[in-house]
Amino acid sequence: MLLLIQYTLIFASVLLLVALGGCVSEHSGVINLGLEGIMVMGSLGGALVMRFLPYTATMGGRFGMFFAVLCAAIIFGVVYSCLLAVACINLKADQTIVGTALNMLGTALATVAVKSMNTALNPDDHSSEIKYINAKKAFLTNIGKFELNWFMIVAVILLVVVFVLLYKTKFGLRLRACGEHPQAAASVGINVFKMRWAGVLISGLLGGVGGITYITAGVSTWKFENGVAGFGFLALAVMIFGAWDPFRIAGAALLFGLFRALGNVYNAFDFLKAMNIPSGVYNMLPYIVCLIVLAFTSKKSRAPKAEGIPYDKGMR
C-alpha cells in the first residue's frame, strides 16, 4: 500500500510539473505540444550531471548534487524550449507541427548524444543508457519505509509558485491577457511577444524538471531511445482535465498518477493479482481513464481563447 502511495506521489509530481508547464504556456497563448521533447532534454541534462559529477554522501554533497541536477535539467529544458518559442512566436509557424517535431527531435537528439558519448568513452558500448544508481541516492530520504523523492517537494513548491505567479501578480495577469486576447493586451502596452516568450520559457523550465523527476522515479538507469513514453501528452490531458487551473491540475495529476502507479505495483495486491488481468491492461489503464475523462469534461472548454493562434499585430 505504501508502495502504491509512493509511486502515485512520484508519478503525480511528474504529471503536475509538466502539466503546469503546459498550463503556463497555454495561458500565454502558445500550445506547447513539445513538452515530451522538453522532458527528454531535461532528463538528459540531469542524467549527465548525475553520471559525471562525483558524489559524496554527506549532507553538503547531497544538496550540491541535488541543485546541480535541478539546474542542469532546468537549463536543458529552457534552452530547448527556445526552439519552440522562436518558431511559434517570432516566425508564426504551425504550433502543432513544431511541437511534434520537437518531440521527435528530443528523443533523436538525446539518443544520438548519449550513444556517441558512450561509444567515445568505451568503443564497445553502443547502448543509449545512462546509469546513475549512486547519484540518485542524493535526493532520496527514507521516512520509515516510505522513500521520499525530493522532487516531490519541488513539485509542491512549484505548484504554489505557479499559482501565485499566474493569479496574484501583475506579470500573471498580463500573461493571461496575451492568451485570451493578445490584440487587446497589446493595445494597453503589453509586449505580447515578450509575454509569450516568458510563457514558453517557464514551460520549458517546468518540463525539464518534470523530465528529471520522471527518470528518477523507481529506476536508476535510463535508456534514452524510449523517450518518456507519452508522459508529456498525458500531462497535457491532465492539464485539460484540470481546466487550466493549477490546483485542479494537481488533483487531476494525483488521479492519473494513481492509475499509472497501479501498473507498476499491482502485483503487491492479492486481490488484484487474483483477478489475473494481463499486465497490458494495467499499462493501458491511465490512457483509457484519460480518454473517458476527457470525453466527459471537454464539452465545456475553459481553454484560453487565443491559444494556438500566432499573434498578428494587424488582426482585429
Partner: protein
C-alpha cells in the same frame, strides 16, 4: 523575365522549393552534428546516409536494396496519406501510429492464429484502424476532445492491445511473432512477379497499392464533391454547417478514412513478412510519426508524399550504413526530425517570398511611374 517571376509566384513551385530547402538545411544540421561527434569521418558518414543502397558494391545488390527501400516506403506513404487526409480537413491525425499498430495486430493475428488468406487479413486490419479513427472522430465531433490528445492516448492503448493480441502468435524462440513464411503462407502478399524483377521477396503488391492510394486520395480531395465538402468543413466548421453540410459526419468520416489508410500501411508491411512484431515492444512504432514528416515534407500533396516518403525511408535506411564505431544509426532520425521542424516554417517562407516579390514589383511600378512623370514634366517644359 516575366516567365521567371511567374514561376517564383507559382504555389506549387514555392512548396517544392521550400521542401528542398528544408532537406538541404536538415542535412547540413545533420552534418554539423556528425562533425561534433567525430570530425574525421563526418563527410563520409553523411554521404553514406545520402547514398543508402548505392553503398552496395554490385548493381544486383543495389537493385535488391532499392527494392527493400521501396518496400519500406509503402507503409510510410500510407501513413503520410493518412496524416495528410486528416490535415486537409483540419484534423491532426497523430493517432496514425496507433492505427498502424491495429492494422498490424489484426492482420497478423488473423493470418497466423486463424490462418485466414491475405486479403481478408488486410481488410480486417483496415477496419480495425478505421474503428480507432472513428473513436477519435466521434470524440471530436460530439465531446469536443482534441484529436491530438485522444490520438496519443489511443496510440498507447493500441500498442498494448496489439502486444496482448499477438501473444499467441509469438515464436517461442524469440520475442517476435512467427514468420509468415514458416507458419502462414496463405497470408503472404502476392508479388506479381516483382519479386523476380528486384530479386527480393519482400517487394510485393504493397508498393503499387500504396501509390494507387496516393492517386485515389488526390482525386477524392481535389476532384470530388466529397473532398470539397471535407475541405470546407476543415476550413470553417461553422460555415460548412451553415451551408447545410453535416459537419459531424464529415469529421467522423475523415477520421475513418485516415485510420483505414494508416492501418492499411501497417497490415501491408507486416503481411509482406519483411519484419516481425515484437510482442514486448514498449514504444509506439515510429512509422506513424514519420508519416507526419513525410506529409509535410511533401507539401501536403498526395503525389508529393510519394517522393517525400521515399526520401525519408531512403535516409533512414542510409543511417544504417554509417560507420558504427563512431556514429549511430539514429543520426538519420535526427535529420528527419530537423526536417519536420523546418517544415513548420514553410508558411513563413512563402509569406516572406511573396512579400519580397510584391515589394520588388511595387518598386518597379513606382520606378515606371516616376519615369513617366519625368517624361511628362520634360514634355511640359518643352
Amino acid at each position: 523575365m516575366k516567365e521567371k517571376r511567374s514561376l517564383l509566384r507559382n504555389d506549387g513551385f514555392q512548396t517544392f522549393a521550400a521542401s528542398v530547402l528544408c532537406i538541404v538545411l536538415g542535412l547540413i544540421v545533420g552534418y554539423l552534428a556528425l562533425l561534433i561527434i567525430n570530425a574525421d569521418g563526418a563527410g563520409k558518414a553523411i554521404m553514406s546516409v545520402i547514398k543508402n543502397f548505392f553503398n552496395k558494391p554490385t548493381s544486383a545488390a543495389r537493385l535488391k536494396y532499392f527494392g527493400q527501400t521501396l518496400a519500406k516506403t509503402a507503409p510510410l506513404l500510407l501513413c503520410s496519406l493518412s496524416v495528410l487526409f486528416a490535415y486537409k480537413v483540419g484534423l491532426f491525425n497523430i493517432g496514425a501510429a496507433g492505427q498502424y499498430c491495429l492494422g498490424v495486430a489484426l492482420a497478423l493475428y488473423l493470418g497466423i492464429c486463424k490462418q485466414w488468406p491475405w486479403y481478408l487479413c488486410l481488410i480486417c486490419g483496415i477496419c480495425a484502424g478505421s474503428i480507432s479513427g472513428a473513436v477519435c472522430g466521434i470524440l471530436r465531433a460530439y465531446c469536443n476532445v482534441n484529436v491530438v490528445i485522444s490520438g496519443i492516448m489511443l496510440n498507447w492503448i493500441s500498442l498494448y492491445g496489439t502486444n496482448m493480441l499477438l501473444k499467441p502468435a509469438m515464436d517461442p524462440a524469440g520475442k517476435d511473432t512467427f514468420r509468415l513464411v514458416s507458419k502462414a503462407k496463405q497470408a503472404l502478399l502476392p508479388t506479381l512477379g516483382m519479386e523476380k524483377l528486384f530479386n527480393d521477396k519482400y517487394v510485393t503488391i504493397a508498393i503499387p497499392i500504396a501509390i494507387l492510394m496516393a492517386i485515389v486520395v488526390w482525386i477524392v480531395l481535389d476532384k470530388t464533391k466529397l473532398g470539397y465538402e471535407l475541405k470546407a468543413t476543415g476550413n470553417n466548421l461553422n460555415a460548412a454547417k451553415y451551408c447545410g453540410m453535416k459537419e459531424n459526419r464529415n469529421i467522423i468520416l475523415t477520421m475513418v478514412i485516415a485510420g483505414g489508410l494508416a492501418a492499411m500501411g501497417g497490415a501491408l508491411y507486416y503481411l509482406s513478412d519483411f519484419t516481425q512484431w515484437n510482442v514486448n515492444s514498449s514504444s509506439v512504432p515510429g512509422m506513424g510519426f514519420n508519416g507526419i514528416a513525410a506529409a509535410f515534407l511533401g507539401g501536403l500533396n498526395p503525389i508529393g508524399s510519394i517522393f517525400s516518403s521515399f526520401f525519408i525511408t531512403h535516409i533512414t535506411d542510409g543511417g544504417g550504413y554509417v560507420d558504427l564505431s563512431h556514429y549511430c544509426a539514429q543520426i538519420a532520425d535526427f535529420i528527419s526530425a530537423v526536417i519536420i521542424y523546418l517544415c513548420g516554417f514553410v508558411l513563413f517562407f512563402k509569406t516572406f517570398l511573396n512579400s519580397r516579390l510584391n515589394k520588388a514589383e511595387e518598386r518597379k511600378i513606382e520606378k515606371a511611374r516616376a519615369l513617366a512623370a519625368a517624361e511628362t514634366n520634360k514634355g511640359g517644359k518643352a
